[in-house]
Symmetry: C2
Subunit: 389 residues, 2 copies
């Protein structure tokens, strides 16, 4: 029986993880559920899964949750600090890090510090502070199992192989809803349009990141740290059908790929069940639905976020942190129609140029760079013709 | 240093294996080379690689080889029996079984009996006598590493995985030079046409088997024994580009695939180097050459050899042995323009119906069934309008 702490249980990954848990009551037990502000869903989940504790990080919702669960034995905590404490509990066997954005970093770092096994869905943990996180994991024996479908694919291809035998990894990108489009088209797209991902059903932030290809850029940086690769060992190929979730190329020229229908439940299940594979009744891959798989080079010129992410990876230090912070601000602004699609890249690029580079940042440096980048990106958002409109 | 016995060193697989060996003198040493009748090549190989011994199974060539190597310390043996003896030598670390056809069975069985690690390129060993061979391997601790690209792909996908977690394997078939053709076309094709394989550069027998899809049928049976699968766990999909060499589908719905350019040197190197992967300078897979990968169901009605092989697998016992014997005769006849393309299936089907079924054959039974099937198939060949012409 594996006792799970699900950080961000009310989000897209969290709720799907709970579906997997519900299907396998013999394998999983919920120890902790946490949410930021979606108190209603958290309460419903708590009543259903009877965790030892819940955390609501938005303290203004604490009383609401506390009251709703007062007739139960479930412990209720509020605030960010509680999150960082509960992941360290001895009763937690595995932490599923499914909080979106920079906000997920501190709690994952605490779990790493406590030597936990972590199913990691939060990209920013490794994008922002991959060096610190992986160094600490090596010291504490914490193990990180990726949840992202691409990294799960690579992880699955590496089972039984030596990392020294990897020549490169090739992340597949669907290309998003605007694959093949040019700037003159992109300048006019709206958030509602970008939210229609052709293959994957995901949260809003990651869906916009898929449309800009920033998602793939963040994944390159994530892969670098997760698998201990050099920058030049990480490639991206556009594969519209999202059937092949990534490739690993070995030093003998052989490649392995992981394949499946585009459904996050599969990598979620793989990560929380690892090292087991669990029999399930998920829809099976059918070649009739995938009679043709295509591959093409990504368009770095049009989808500048991908080029910026690659640049940040190559610069290193606090550059990915700044990139990520600026991106979070611009995605939020784009979702609120305050900047247009192309301005997102402008703002990220300007923010990267503005924030002072740090070669070997501490966690405090990362927090500082994150703050600075957000403030500056916000200023730039305000100057957008759309925002001032 | 791994000391290799290469059985069938003058054939397509054997010569490519020697190229790999030549590139890695630090890893491999040639202990034994064997050939059937190509004395000239065997002599040249022996002078170059300085094995401990060579075997020429066609005894009429023995004196020729003996004389050519008399100034060296290389031991020279003649005849089938010598083959069966030398593979058992303590100085042999690995046996590469690259003899084509039923003729390869006895020597591989001797290597299995001696508990050797075997890189297996000879399909017939498992097609004909998979039950006996694998049972004996389990007793002696012999390990079989596949050389066939499809089985190598499956083997590579299974590294680090549990065989109990396999839901099915999906062998990819290029479809051969006559993919999409119908009987009215096939009745007129000649051997020279069938020998033009679109993707793979292989020996004549296997190239014809690729054109009839018998090759894929034999591979299904081979996979069954090699990986201990049930018949219903083995599927075939036509994948024209031969980039994906096969798939494994696991019980959680995840699939893994091995990918690479169609070049036998890669699986040959993998098998003889296993469990290592060796860095090499083989041409790398390039998505520009494989921008589109297609998949379609095989046409069992037109390519009846595939259906017959599947039927033989399902019947079991000596049925695959009979199928294989009849196929060897018909391929030989087709290469000599003594039967047409479609008659090959007719003859195999009739031979399968003629030879008395044996549920649990001994090795002697297999030899007997093989003989009977060959005789009967030969008779049928003689009755072909082409043969009597």
């Amino acid at each position: 029986m594996k006792r799970l702490a699900i950080l961000g249980s009310t989000g897209s990954i969290g709720t799907q993880a709970l579906e997997v848990v519900e299907s396998h009551p013999d394998l999983f037990e919920i120890e902790i559920l946490t949410a930021h502000s979606n108190a209603e869903t958290l309460i419903a989940q708590a009543i259903k899964f009877k965790p030892n504790a819940v955390v609501i990080t938005d303290v203004s919702k604490y009383e609401l949750v506390k009251k709703a669960l007062e007739s139960t034995t479930i412990k209720v905590f509020g605030g960010e600090e509680a999150l960082i404490e509960v992941v360290r509990w001895d009763t937690v066997d595995m932490v599923l890090g499914a909080i979106v954005g920079f906000a997920g970093l501190k709690s994952i770092y605490a779990a790493v510090d406590a030597g936990k096994t972590i199913a990691l869905a939060n990209k920013e943990t490794l994008v922002v502070a991959g060096d610190l996180v992986m160094k600490r994991a090596a010291e504490t024996g914490a193990r990180i199992i990726p949840v992202d479908s691409e990294h799960s694919a690579i992880f699955q291809c590496l089972v039984g192989e030596y990392i020294e035998n990897v020549e490169k990894v090739i992340l597949t990108a669907s290309g998003g809803p605007f694959r093949g489009k040019k700037p003159n088209f992109l300048v006019n797209v709206k958030a509602s349009h970008a939210l229609q991902h052709p293959n994957w059903n995901m949260g809003a932030k990651i869906t916009i990141d898929s449309a800009t290809l920033m998602n793939k850029g963040l994944e390159m940086i994530e892969a670098k740290w997760l698998f201990g690769l050099k920058n030049e060992q990480i490639d991206v190929i556009v594969h519209q059908q999202s059937a092949i979730h990534s490739f690993v190329q070995f030093i003998d020229g052989s490649l392995k790929a992981q394949v499946g229908i585009p459904d996050m439940k599969l990598p979620i299940q793989y990560a929380i069940a690892y090292p087991r594979r669990i029999r399930n009744s998920f829809k099976r891959f059918d070649f009739k639905d995938f009679g043709q798989l295509t591959f093409e080079e990504p368009d770095y010129k049009t989808f500048r976020n991908l080029a910026l992410a690659k640049e940040a990876m190559n610069i290193g230090g606090n550059a990915p942190c700044v990139l990520n912070a600026a991106n979070e601000i611009t995605v939020q602004a784009f979702l609120q129609n305050k900047v247009d699609f192309l301005e997102m890249s402008d703002i990220i690029e300007k923010t990267m140029a503005k924030v002072v580079p740090i070669v070997s940042p501490t966690m405090e440096d990362y927090e500082q760079s994150d703050k600075e980048a957000r403030l500056y990106a916000q200023e730039l958002v305000k100057k957008s013709p759309l925002a001032t409109h």
